[in-house]
């Protein structure tokens, strides 16, 4: 087995690629860049089929939900929802995009939005107020911010003035008809909030500070929701236990050693993004040193270092199709405006 090389390099963007994602059974890739351009790539041909300026400014995040609906988050204080019409069934159909909704927010931080789909609604989670550690949840169907100021502590806690700084990363997930919000803060702490839809109040499940520098990304294992992993501007990777979420009451007063499952550190500091494969076995990190690193989720042992990019990697994403007969894809988007495609494990 030799060191992996990229299977393909996608070149179209003219600015740093901020986010990428597979969608529609890995048939397409969506990516966005610092110029506000969103591209839709077709995996089969490895060409762009759609390319448009979604935002006037930096576009931080793209997500696909529902039936080819795309969410793009820009630093022009807008989150835009687009309807994509793609050539899935009919090859000769001209792909299109239609703006269906635009949500205003104060884009002062670099926190990328998180999306969570339930049976009848889709929720977005991001800091509405910009320069704050608080995050808010928006319901796309109801077209309103349904829960606000998650992360606001109870009054007695506020007196302690433990300011965690800006919210740097957020992940929203739904379990047992309750929201859980995983947040990473500027001071290096990671917190899990339990949000009850009914009383719109957020309870801190746990808060752990393991990073010595701002947290840059957090992600949870989507298949089992058993653990979460965070990366930061320091060289640490920390794995947290999510299983205690079923008993949210007062756990933050307990010993944190039960929350942090494992820690590891790498030689270079700065891991901008992280993604866990759908099977929860491996995860990849996007390094400021231009390398994508692959680790085992169980042991946090490094499995591969993918070197191609000449500049910082800002985003990584695993494909969702894991058939033995097909390649298991991993993509990384970099500041050098290229997207690399890798076949891993």
């Amino acid at each position: 087995m030799s060191a992996p090389t990229p299977a393909y390099i996608f070149r179209k963007h003219k600015a740093s690629v901020n986010a990428i994602t597979f969608f529609s059974n890995d048939k397409y890739i969506a990516s966005c860049d610092a110029n506000g351009i969103v591209c839709i790539w077709k995996m089969k041909t490895r060409r762009t089929i759609l390319e448009w300026k979604a935002h006037d400014n930096d576009c931080l995040q793209v997500h696909i939900y529902g039936k080819n609906r795309l969410v793009s988050q820009g630093r022009d204080h807008k989150v835009n929802l687009w309807q994509l019409i793609l050539d899935e069934e009919e090859e000769d159909k001209v792909p299109e995009y239609i703006l269906i909704q635009s949500i205003d927010y104060y884009s002062l931080s670099f926190c990328r939005l998180s999306i969570c789909q339930t049976k009848d609604d889709t929720y977005l989670c991001l800091p509405l107020r910009g320069d704050t550690s608080l995050v808010d949840i928006y319901s796309i169907e109801q077209q309103k911010w349904i829960i606000q100021r998650i992360g606001l502590k109870e009054e007695r806690d506020q007196k302690e003035k433990t300011d965690h700084g800006l919210c740097m990363a957020v992940k929203l997930f739904c379990l047992n008809e309750a929201f859980y919000v995983l947040t990473g803060y500027e001071d290096g702490s990671v917190a899990l909030w339990h949000v009850s839809y009914l009383n719109e109040k957020s309870n801190l499940v746990w808060l752990v500070k393991e990073h010595t520098a701002p947290v840059l990304d957090v992600v949870m294992d989507r298949s089992t929701l058993e653990f979460a992993i965070s990366t930061g501007a320091d060289n640490q990777i920390v794995k947290y236990a999510l299983t205690s979420t079923s008993h949210p009451a007062q756990q933050h007063e307990e010993d944190y050693s039960s929350i942090v499952m494992k820690k590891t550190s790498i030689k270079k500091s700065g891991l901008a993004a992280i993604d866990i494969r759908i099977d929860g076995k491996i995860f990849a990190t996007a390094g400021h040193d231009g390398r994508i690193r692959v680790f085992s989720c169980k042991s946090l042992q490094p499995l591969a270092i993918l070197s191609y990019h000449r500049d910082s990697v800002y985003s990584v994403a695993f494909a969702s199709v894991l058939q033995d007969t097909k390649d298991h894809w991993l993509i990384g988007g970099s500041k050098d405006s290229r997207i690399s495609l890798w076949s891993i494990y």
Partner: protein
């Protein structure tokens, strides 16, 4: 009447008759057992069983004594086999019953019989003794007879004498025996039993005096606790009249502490100390009655006499004082920061006075062991914590502790010095507000952690901290068992093992699962080959390429940069670059905006506190030059701060002399008297000053004879120069001279806590600094005021015995006044300062009469000559 008499006589006769009839059968029975009568087993049995059926009141003590003696001395040795066979259990129990009937009679006889050599008989004796002493739960029969105290205490020795050493498990091994006996005594004291406190006290006292303090006290401790100490105050008083209070204090403290150490978790917490202390107070001082004297004795033993014991530590101190305070104010619950009763305060005060006496004892200082010195110092620190700042202040004035601290410093022993530092800093912390607190900066983590911990003792005040306290009474709460339990050291029965319980609490599975998890981490993924990249974090810490990095550190461009450089104690390269570029940077910024003015004080702070951790070249020299440049550039802003630092006692002597040196350099620069590089060697003043300024050469410099020509030649040179504006104008007095004097006076009057005058070297340097300023102010309008101030400063000092170098520099000041400041204005001098000149003259004449002061005489002579000259010309 006659009838009555007859009746009485008859009845007494009848009674006598009846008694004698009861005695005789006993004697007959006894006689039947005598060997000459050839008794059989039945006779023996009858002799034992028959008397037991008779009423106790009908027996005469003498007859009974005879009966017992016969049994012990005749029957048992001869019939020992009969008592020892298994079938004769009834016989054996009858025997026991006989002996137990009147223990007071049986015990001495049995003890006498121990000299018997018959081994099987000996066994019976010992068994009987056992039932007569420790198996008997009621000691009342022996009560109120001091004779039996001795007998009871002698049982183990006598048995040991008779049979040699038995097995360690035997009941008559003294540790077992005394533990059980003590427990019996403790349980039966009034009001719980019938033993009088005098008797119980005597018995326990004797046992303790025999050297079984440890055994006895550990046995009775839990019992007293159960009884809530009722009546024990009196018992302890009796005990202490037999055994020494010191022994008891030592034993009980050791016991309590050993118990505390067995629970590492609760080891040092205030709660545990409070709990132990409240129990101890109850056990040792009871809940009733006044025991102030005993408490004071207890404290004095715990704090002073136990100083040398190997097991004592700060915990002992904490427990002892807390106990004493609790004992003094019986109501523990209500204690808070303010409610130390006057009695307790008085007690603490007495203790502190004793400790100070001990601490100040030169013999203790010189010959005491380190352990002892540490213990006493820790004791002082801890007890001082209980006093308010005013009280400490009063104490300081009453005892002159400050002077004693100086005495400790005088020893060149680091440990003694550090102990004195601990005490001095503690007193300062307790009496002074934040910034003015003394901080020698000598104690550093981690090597001095013992001393730092000792310092924190002052804040403990265990007796006053509000902690929820359950241990006061013994009625059940959960914590009781863990605290009381281990103290009970049961010598007769194996203790319920606490270890077993602990073992059960450990859950081996919890650990194992963790281990297993980490072991079976073989992933299904085989790692791809990975290129090894150099870690940038490692590179940061690596020392190999410091040389390469050194080049990269650029000289700072802004004052703020410079401050950052000087702040970076971790990076010697930056410090080096910062210090090197400081002087030039400061001069560059001299007239460039407000940058320097704004950061001057911060910069001065950094320059003064420049770390000496790295062995950089010429640190002091560069520091001095940079500070001089700073003072010369922004005198108004920074000089005040510098002078404050000189008089701050947290500035080291080296720093102070550096500061003096930089002030001198700066003043000379401002006055325009500093000589360009190429001319330097001609300037003798410079040479003289340079010698004065270097710390190392200071000794030799003082031996150099004063040179009046220094100044006159300087004048010559100055005459040749082009006239410059004297930049000292307007600041020589208000900025330099007067603030320096203010600092001096504050120290001298005792307002500031340290006085420069105490140190010869600094005092000399201080005077020299004044002289340089005065010299520089020759052509300034402030001259008059400065000279007046100098006279005021210098003349009173003639009455103090000063080191010669200081006197010499003071004289040099007069020299400057008469020869430089008023060099050509002798008349004016005479007009303005007639009184001062007369005083100066008197002083100088005094000096001329001194022996061994050739140095001074030379200078004095010169001034006298000049004074004569002035007076003649006037």
């Amino acid at each position: 009447m006659f009838y009555i008499y007859i009746y009485v006589t008859l009845s007494s006769f009848y009674l006598f008759k009846k008694k004698s009839t009861m005695t005789d059968p006993l004697r007959i029975l006894d006689d039947a057992t005598l060997p000459e009568n050839k008794p059989d087993l039945d006779a023996i049995r009858q002799c034992l069983e028959q008397p037991l059926k008779w009423k106790r009141t009908t027996l005469k003590p003498i007859a009974w004594k005879h009966h017992i003696r016969t049994i012990a001395q005749t029957v048992i040795p001869n019939w020992a086999y009969a008592f020892n066979t298994t079938t004769s259990n009834t016989l054996r129990s009858t025997l026991e019953e006989t002996f137990l009937r009147l223990p007071k009679v049986s015990l001495p006889i049995l003890l006498d019989c121990l000299s018997q050599v018959n081994l099987s008989a000996l066994e019976i004796y010992i068994d009987l003794l056992k039932s007569l002493t420790i198996t008997m739960t009621d000691l009342t029969p022996y009560a109120d007879d001091r004779f039996f105290c001795n007998l009871l205490c002698s049982v183990p020795t006598r048995i040991a004498n008779a049979i040699g050493l038995g097995g360690t498990e035997s009941w008559y091994i003294d540790t077992h025996y005394f533990a059980r006996l003590a427990r019996h005594v403790a349980r039966q004291t009034q009001p719980y039993g019938t033993l009088s406190s005098a008797y119980a006290g005597e018995l326990l006292g004797r046992m303790i005096r025999l050297g079984h303090a440890n055994v006895c006290i550990s046995a009775i401790y839990p019992i007293i606790l159960d009884q809530q100490g009722k009546g024990w105050s009196a018992i302890w008083t009796v005990i202490e009249s037999y055994a020494s209070m010191g022994k008891i204090t030592e034993t009980i403290l050791q016991l309590v502490q050993k118990n505390q150490q067995q629970h590492p978790g609760i080891h040092k917490s205030i709660k545990s100390i409070q709990k132990i202390a409240s129990q101890l107070a109850m056990v040792l001082f009871g809940v009733d009655g006044k025991s102030s004297i005993r408490i004071e004795q207890f404290l004095s033993f715990a704090y002073i006499r136990l100083a040398n014991a190997s097991w004592t530590n700060t915990n002992t101190l904490r427990i002892a004082l807390t106990t004493a305070i609790y004992a003094q104010q019986k109501n523990v619950q209500g204690l808070d920061e303010t409610s130390v009763s006057p009695e307790s305060l008085c007690m603490v005060n007495t203790l502190i006075c004793r400790l100070i006496d001990k601490w100040a004892d030169p013999v203790f200082l010189k010959h005491g062991s380190y352990k002892e010195q540490e213990y006493i110092t820790a004791g002082l620190v801890y007890t001082l914590g209980y006093l308010s700042s005013d009280q400490i202040e009063t104490l300081m004035n009453e005892t002159a502790l400050r002077g004693f601290i100086h005495r400790w410093f005088e020893y060149s022993d680091t440990i003694k010095m550090k102990l004195a530092v601990v005490l001095a800093e503690t007193i300062s912390e307790l009496t002074e507000e934040g910034s003015s607190r003394l901080n020698f900066g000598i104690l550093k983590e981690p090597e001095d952690s013992t001393f730092l911990v000792m310092k924190t003792l002052a804040e403990k005040r265990d007796a006053l901290k509000k902690v929820e306290l359950n241990g006061l009474t013994c009625d059940g709460d959960d914590d009781e068992e863990e605290t009381n339990g281990p103290i009970i050291e049961d010598y007769s029965s194996p203790p319920v093992s606490g270890d077993e319980q602990q073992d059960e609490e450990l859950d081996p599975d919890a650990i194992l699962t963790g281990d297993q998890e980490s072991e079976d981490e073989d992933d299904e993924f085989e790692p791809y080959p990975m290129e090894e990249s150099e870690s940038d974090d490692e590179a940061l810490h690596g020392g190999s390429d410091t040389g390469a990095r050194k080049k990269r550190v650029k000289a700072p461009v802004y004052i703020q940069d410079l401050i950052v450089y000087l702040k970076d104690d971790e990076d010697p390269v930056k410090l080096d670059v910062g210090l090197s570029s400081a002087e030039q940077l400061i001069r560059d910024k001299a007239n460039a905006g407000s940058e320097l003015n704004e950061s001057a004080i911060e910069l001065a702070k950094r320059l003064i506190g420049f770390t000496t951790a790295y062995d950089l070249e010429n640190t002091t020299e560069r520091q001095k030059l940079s500070l001089a440049a700073l003072i010369a550039t922004v005198p108004e802003t920074v000089t005040g701060y510098i002078i404050d630092q000189i008089f701050d006692r947290n500035t080291s002597m080296e720093q102070k002399s550096t500061l003096f040196a930089s002030i001198i350099l700066a003043v000379r620069e401002l006055a325009g008297t500093s000589i360009p590089e190429n001319n330097k060697r001609q300037d003798e003043l410079s040479l003289e000053l340079e010698k004065q300024l270097s710390l190392e050469e200071s000794k030799s410099s003082t031996s150099i004879v004063g040179k009046p020509r220094v100044f006159s030649r300087r004048m010559d040179i100055e005459k040749k120069k082009i006239t410059h504006r004297n930049r000292l104008s307007g600041i020589a007095g208000p900025v330099f001279f007067f603030p320096l004097l203010v600092g001096w006076w504050e120290g001298a009057r005792g307002k500031a806590r340290s006085w420069l005058g105490r140190d010869a070297l600094l005092a000399e340097r201080f005077v020299m600094t004044l002289l340089v300023i005065m010299h520089g102010a020759t052509n300034l309008p402030e001259r008059g005021r400065i000279v007046t101030e100098y006279f005021e400063f210098a003349l009173p000092l003639r009455f103090i015995s000063l080191p010669q170098p200081v006197t010499r520099s003071l004289l040099l000041g007069f020299d400057i006044i008469v020869n430089v400041n008023y060099g050509h204005q002798g008349d004016l001098l005479l007009q303005e300062y007639p009184q001062q000149l007369v005083e100066t003259k008197n002083w100088l004449e005094d000096i001329m009469e001194m022996v061994n002061a050739d140095d001074l005489k030379q200078v004095a002579l010169r001034i006298l000559a000049r004074l004569m000259e002035i007076s003649i010309s006037a």
